[in-house]
Symmetry: C3
Subunit: 624 residues, 3 copies
Amino acid sequence: MLRRGLQPEQWTEDVWREDVALMRRAGVNLVSVGVFAWSRLEPEEGRYTFGWLDRVLDLLEAGGVKVALATPTASPPPWFSLAHPEALPVRADGTRLLHGSRDTYCASAPAYREAARRIARELARRYADHPALALWHVHNEYGTTCHCDHAAAAFRGWLRERYRTLDALNDAWTTAFWSQHYADWAYVFPPRATQYLPNPGQVLDFKRFWSDELLAAYTEQRDILRTATPDVPITTNYVFGGWVPVDHARWSREVDVVAVDHYPSDSGPGAEEETAFAADLARCWSGGRPWLLMESAPNLIYEGGRMHAKEPGRMARHSLSHVARGSRGAMFFQWRAPRGGAERFHSALVPHAGPDSRVYRETVELGAALGRLSEVDAGAVEASVAVAWDAASWWALSGPGLPWDGIDYLAEVRTAHRALWRVGVTADFVSLDRGGPLPYQLLVLPAHYLMSDAAAAAVRTYVDGGGRLVATYLSGVADEYGRVRLGGYPGALREVLGVRVEEFRPTPSGWAEDVRLAGAVQVRPGVTRHRFGAGTAWYLSTPLDGGAYGELLAEAAGIPVREGAAELELVRRRARHAGWLFAFNHGAEARAVPAQGTDLVTGKPVDGAVEVPAGGWAVIRETN
Amino acid sequence: MLRRGLQPEQWTEDVWREDVALMRRAGVNLVSVGVFAWSRLEPEEGRYTFGWLDRVLDLLEAGGVKVALATPTASPPPWFSLAHPEALPVRADGTRLLHGSRDTYCASAPAYREAARRIARELARRYADHPALALWHVHNEYGTTCHCDHAAAAFRGWLRERYRTLDALNDAWTTAFWSQHYADWAYVFPPRATQYLPNPGQVLDFKRFWSDELLAAYTEQRDILRTATPDVPITTNYVFGGWVPVDHARWSREVDVVAVDHYPSDSGPGAEEETAFAADLARCWSGGRPWLLMESAPNLIYEGGRMHAKEPGRMARHSLSHVARGSRGAMFFQWRAPRGGAERFHSALVPHAGPDSRVYRETVELGAALGRLSEVDAGAVEASVAVAWDAASWWALSGPGLPWDGIDYLAEVRTAHRALWRVGVTADFVSLDRGGPLPYQLLVLPAHYLMSDAAAAAVRTYVDGGGRLVATYLSGVADEYGRVRLGGYPGALREVLGVRVEEFRPTPSGWAEDVRLAGAVQVRPGVTRHRFGAGTAWYLSTPLDGGAYGELLAEAAGIPVREGAAELELVRRRARHAGWLFAFNHGAEARAVPAQGTDLVTGKPVDGAVEVPAGGWAVIRETN
Amino acid sequence: MLRRGLQPEQWTEDVWREDVALMRRAGVNLVSVGVFAWSRLEPEEGRYTFGWLDRVLDLLEAGGVKVALATPTASPPPWFSLAHPEALPVRADGTRLLHGSRDTYCASAPAYREAARRIARELARRYADHPALALWHVHNEYGTTCHCDHAAAAFRGWLRERYRTLDALNDAWTTAFWSQHYADWAYVFPPRATQYLPNPGQVLDFKRFWSDELLAAYTEQRDILRTATPDVPITTNYVFGGWVPVDHARWSREVDVVAVDHYPSDSGPGAEEETAFAADLARCWSGGRPWLLMESAPNLIYEGGRMHAKEPGRMARHSLSHVARGSRGAMFFQWRAPRGGAERFHSALVPHAGPDSRVYRETVELGAALGRLSEVDAGAVEASVAVAWDAASWWALSGPGLPWDGIDYLAEVRTAHRALWRVGVTADFVSLDRGGPLPYQLLVLPAHYLMSDAAAAAVRTYVDGGGRLVATYLSGVADEYGRVRLGGYPGALREVLGVRVEEFRPTPSGWAEDVRLAGAVQVRPGVTRHRFGAGTAWYLSTPLDGGAYGELLAEAAGIPVREGAAELELVRRRARHAGWLFAFNHGAEARAVPAQGTDLVTGKPVDGAVEVPAGGWAVIRETN
C-alpha cells in the first residue's frame, strides 16, 4: 500500500526530517519525488545539482519510505524557453506559449525531446543503484498539444505511415468536400485556425497522431530507464479529461503498471460513482490486472471553480473504493501544502494548518487500515457486465458538424456506468478494438459512434453466439475514419439490432430518432429488442429517464436490481481460494451487510452480517 | 422549376448515373455543379483536370438536367496556402488563417484575385459551348473579411475615392475625438485589434468598403464569363446573416438574376414567417422581378446547435412560399448527403439512408407539383405596404458605443415584417437610397438609424404627398456617416413626425424615450400621430406588445386585419390577365379558403372555396 | 466650485463662443481642455498646431472660465503607430494593438515616453504664462498594460530593485513549484500566455510593477510641468475599476490634488451608496484633505450594456454627495455631446438636443447652488469608523489558484461600506501600509488577504491599546508576497482574533470555514469575539445577511443604528468654528431633518428641522 506526493524542492531540510517522521506515523511506504523538479536539478542547461535530491532519497530510505522517482520532463525550466524558443508550444491560432506555468514545450520539437532524454539519462545514471528507488515515474499527465511546424512535420510522417498514399488520405478525410484535396503531403497541416468548420477526419486523426506522438516521447524515456535499471518497473500517470488527446487503452501496453490520477468533479453523491467509474476504467486499461491510483486529493473536490472540502470519512471511502476495484494502494497529491505557487490551496495530507488537523489524523487512520488489507491484491474484481470504451469515438463526437452540439460521449458512457452502479452491478470496461473474447452476461455500447468492420464483426459474433447487447443512439454510425455508413443508421449495427433509422431528431431536451423496425420489436417507446442468432440485442434510440435505464440494463443482463445500491456500495474481489467483500456506506444511517467470514480491519469473525456505520466501510474476507 | 446541389466530386461514376435517374424521377431540371471543386479541377497550380467534369455535364445533359456551373473560387485548394501565404485572410487581431475549412483567402490579395480569374477563364473556355450550361454561378456566398495589409491598401484607395480629401474623412469619422486625426492617408487601417472602442465611422466604412471589394471580385469574374458566353445569365448566391458585410441591395444591379440561400433559424412556427421575410427581401433586391431560391435545406432547421428535422410537408410549404413570393423555383443544398466532410449531417434530398426515405419521396412529390405551377412566373407579387431595409443601418447599429447593446436592427425589421405577416398583410421591402416612387398605402421605417438628406427628403415628399408613415425609435438619428443629427432625436424625421426626443431611456426590458410633442398627438403610450401635408406620420418610441404592433400597422395602412393569418398564409401574384392565389395551411386543422378559379395541382375548378388540409397548400388560378 | 469637459477640437469656433456663453449661464469656472487633442496639436511628428488652442484659452479666459490644461498623452496620434511600431502595446498572448481607439502605447517603450515628454514640454512652454491656466491635468486615467519586451526589461529592473537577489525572488514567488526556478534575471518575463495557471507571485508583482511604471510616466511629465510653472498645481485623474493596475493610495503622494473620475454602475438605489463609496475612498487617498471629482456623468449610469438616464435631481444629489465627502467641486465628462466618435452617446451637459433640455437646465440650477456652498471647503468630513483598503489584496484575490473563483475583494469592501452606510455611519478608508495612528471607534478589515508583518503589528497594537476590530474571512491569510502563512488561517491575525481555521469551506452560495476557538467566544453562527489586551476583536468567518452586518458593525463601534439612513443620507463636515450638515433625500417622500442653523441655499434660518423634498437635498450651516 502506497501514498505519495513529496515536493522536497519547496522546503528546507528540517521540514524534510519532520516529513519523514510524519510519513512513518501515517504508514506511508512510497512517495513520488521530483515530478516538477527540473529547474532545481538542472538550473541551467547542462549544469546539474543533484546533491539535495541525494539527501532526500537517503533520508527517505533511512525512514523506510521507498521512492517513485519522476523524470521532471513535464515542466522544462525557464532557461529552456530562451535557449529553444522554437520548441515552445503553439496554439491553433498561432499563439506561442511561454514558461511561467508548467508544460510549456512541444512534444514534437527535437530540442525538447533531446533535453528530456538527457535529464532522464542523468537521473538514471545517478540513482540506478539507490536502494530507495522502487518505481520510475516518467513525466506527469501527458496531454498537452501543439500546432507548430515541428508538429506538422511529425503529423505528416504519421499520416504517411497510416495511409501510405495520398489517395487513401483524401478518401479517408473526404477531402473532395470544400476543395480540400491534397495533391502533396506538404500541403497537410495540423488543424489550425481556419475560416469555418474544420475537416472532421483531420481533427480526429490529429488527436490519434498526438496520442502516438506523446507515447513516443514516453517510450524513449522508458527505454533509457529500462537499460539503466532492467528490474525497476516504469510507468507514467494518466490524467482523465476531455482535453487530453491520449488513448490510454493503447498506451497501457507500454507501461509496467497502469497508474491514474483521479479527481472527481461533483461534490455531491456523484463523486462516489465517479470514483467507481475511474477505477473501473483504469482496470480496463490494465487488462484486469492490479493498477495504481497515483494521485487523488485528500480533502478537495474541485467543482465549478470551488474547492469543496471532503466530509469526514470520505477520503477513506474514495481511497478504498479504488482499492476495491483493483488499485494496489492509494496515493495522493500532495503531501504538504505549499506556501506559494499556483496550487498552494490544492489539498494536502499535511495542510497549511499542519499535522494538528483533521486531514492528517484521517491520513494516519487510513494508513493503519491499508496496512491490514494487503492480501486483497491477490483477488480479481468480479464483474459480469461490460461497457465499451472508445477514445476515438469520444474524439469524433467532440468534432465539428454533428447533428447536435449537445452530444457528450463521456456523459453517455458515464450514464451507462452510473445506471449499473445504482442498481448494484459492478461493470468492466472493454475496448472492442482489442479483440478477444467477451465473457459477459451483457455488453453495453453507449454512443459507440466509430466502429471498424472488425469491431462490428466482434459484436455480431458475440450476439450471434448468445450474447446480450444494449446499444444506444449514435452507435455504429461511422467507420473508423468517421465516414458515415450509408443505407440508414446505425450503420454497422443495423442488422444485429434489426432496425433502420432514417432521421435523427435531436430535441431541445435530448435525442430521438425515427426508427423503422427491421426484425426488432418495440418494447417501449425508444427501445427495441431483436433476437439475433442465439443472442438478443436491444437498441435505445432515446435516453431513458433515471432509474429506467438501470432497470433495463439489469433486466437485459439477467441480474436482479439491488435496492439502495447507491447508499451501500458493494464490490467483490475473488482469488482462487479466497474472496473479499468491500462494503461502503455512503448513506446517513448505519447499515447491516450480510456476510460470512472475517473483518480484515478488526480481525473479528463475521457471522451473518457486519454493521457498517454511516459514512464508514468494511472489508470482509469471505468464507467460500 | 429548378432543383440542385450536386457534388459529383465526392462520388464515383456509378453514383452519378444513379443520381441522374433519381433526378429525373424527381423532376429536377437544374443542378449547381462545381461550387467547391477547385482542388479537383486544379489540383496543383496551373495543372487542370477537367475530364471528370466533362463526363458529369455530359451525363446530366443526356438525362435532361441543365447545369448552373459554378466558379469554385470560394475555396482555394491547399496548394494556394503554400504558394501565396500573404493572400491568406487575417483576423482583426492579426491571426492568419490557414486552409482546412473553406474560404481561406483575402479578397484584396492580388494573388487570390489572379488565381480566381484564371480558373474562371479556364472554365469559361472549356464549357462555353456545352449544351448543359444554363447559368453561371460565380463563387459561393460572398462574405468573408480580412484585415491584412492588402485589405488596408484597398481600403485606403476606396476611402480616397469616397472622400477625396483627408479633411472630409476626418470630418466624416469625427477623428477629433480620441486623437484620431489622420494627417496622411497612409495612417488609415482597417479596424484592427485596438485598446478600447473603435471609431464607429471607420467600422461602418470598412463594412461598406468590403462589400464593394467583394463585389469587385465578383464583377471581374462576371466580365470574363460574359465575354465567353454573352447569352448565359450570370449570378452569385447571396447568404443572409449579420456576419456578412455585403449590401445585397447594391449588388443586385450587377447580377442577371438575384439568387439567395435561405435557412430559417427557428424550428417553431417562426420558420414560416422567416421564409416569407427572406423571400420578400429577395424580391426587393430583385426590384420586384422574379428571383431564385438557390439553396435551402430539404429537411433541416439549424437552431441553437441542433439539426431539427422538418415535419412532413414543411419542405414543400417552405419551397412554395418562396415561389409564391417571386422565386422562379426551389433549389436545395444538397442533392446527396456526403459520407464525410464538415457538412456530412447537413440535410440532403437523398439522405444517408438513401432514396428509400421520406425526404426523397417528398422530393418527388414536390417536383411533380412544381411542374404544374410554371405559369405563375408571369405574375407580380401583390403588396400594398413597404418596409424599409438598409444594410448600412444594420452595420451602424452593430457598431460600438450605442446607448444600449441590446439594439438589434435585424430584429426590429423582422418584428415589423412579422407583425404585418400575422395580420395577413404581404409586404415589400424598399431601399430608400434607391430613390424612385413609393406606391404604397403605408411605409414602415423600423430603426432606420442612418438617413441621408436625400432619403429624409424622399420620406418627407412621400408623406407630404399623402403617404402614411410609421417610423420607430432609432430612425433618422444619424446621417449616412453615422454622425448624430443635432437638435433632438429623431433628427432627420423630427419635422415629419412632429416630435422631439431629448433623451433615450433604454430599460432592462426594451426601449423608451422622453418624447415632446411638436405638432403630433399622442394616440397611446409610446405612439404619436402627426398630420404632415396631405399625409400622416406615426412615431413609435417604444416597442408594442405582440398583436398591438400589427393592429397599429394595419390601421395605419387602412387594411383590415385578417384573423388566423399565421396559420393560413395567403399570397397573391397578379399578371395583366390572370391572378394566382397561394394558400398555405401551417395549422393543425383543415381550412377552407374562399376562391374562384382553378386548382393548379389537381386541375379541378374551384367554386367558392378550396379545402386546404392541415400542413398542406394549394395554388389557384383565380378568375379575374 | 468647478465643472468641465470641453472638447473644442471637435467643434467650430462659433460653437466655442456659444459654449462660453452657456458656461457662464451655468456658473462654470473651470474646464478641462485638451485631454485627447494630441493629433490636433501635433498632427505629424514634431509639427505643432497650437493656434486653435490659443484661441480657445483666450476665449475661455475672456469668459471668466479657468482651464485645467491636459497633456494629451493618453492617446498618441496615428503617426505614432507607424513611426514607432515597437512602442505599441502587446497583450499577454502576443497580439500587438494598433491605433484606432485610444491609449495605444506601451508605457515602458522609450519612444512613447520620449514623445510624451516632448508634447508636455511644448505645452508647458507655450501656456506657462497663460492667465487661464489654473491646473495641469496630466494624461487621462492611467491604466493600460503591456506585455512586450520593453515591459519585460523594465519589469526585470523593478524586480532587481525590489529583491536584490534571485534567491529572494525565487523564494518570494515559490518558484520551486512547477519548475519555475530562475537561474538568471534574463529568464523573467511578464506573465504571458502560458500553458496553464500562472505563478500568483509573478502576477501580483507584475501589477505592482506596472503601477510604479505608470507612476514613473506620470512623474516625469509632472517634473517637466513643475519646472515650467512652479506655482500651478498638477494632478492626473484616477479611474476606478478592477482592470486598472494602479495603486492610487501610493500614487497620491505624487499629485498636488487627488482627482478621481466616478461613474456608478448600478442604476438602482445602489448608485447613491456607490457614490459615497468612491468619495470616501478618494478622501482616503487624499489623506483627508479636499480632493476633486474630475469626471462624472451628468445624465448616465452605464449598467449591463445600457445607458440609463438619471432621474430628475439625481445629478445634483450625486454631485453634492461628492462635495459633502470632500470634493472641492463637481466636474463632468463631457460638456457637449459630440456628433461622432465612440462616445457620442455618452452623457453631456449640453446634449444632442442642445441647451433646450432638462440636462442643461439642471446644470444651470446646480451651478447656482454650488456657488453658495464654497465655505464648506474649510470643513473636515466626520467619520468614526475606518475600513481598510488594500489594492495589493485586490490584485492577489484576483489571481490564480484561489479556493473559490467567486472571491471578489471589491465586493467585500463594498459590502462593508454599504452595511455602514445603510445604518447611517460615515466611514473613512485607511491603508494599513501607510502606518500612523488609527483614531477610530472601529476598524474593519474586509478580506484583507495580504498582510505584511508591519501591518499585522499595527492591527495588534491598535487592538491591544483598546481598539475595536472586525475582520472577515480571507484576512491575514498571506504575507505581502502572497505566500500563505502556515499553522492555520487567518495567519497574521490568529492571535488577535483568538481563532484557528483548519479548512476553508466555500459553498455554492458563499463562504464558510471550520473555526476552532482559541480564546474567542462564538457570539452567533459565523461570528466570534475575542478580548485582546484592552480591546476587542470580532471575526466573521461567513457573510452576514442583509441588515445583520450593519447592525454588528454598529454594535462593535458602539454607534446607534440610524433607521432609514439609505433614504435620508446625512453627512457632516466640521471646521474649528463651524459645521455643515448635508442632507440628501433619496426617497419618494419629503423628510424633516432635525437641524439648527442656516440653510446655505435659501439663506434662511433653520430652527429645529429642515424639510427636504423627495429627491432633494439641503446644506445647513450648523450652530455649534
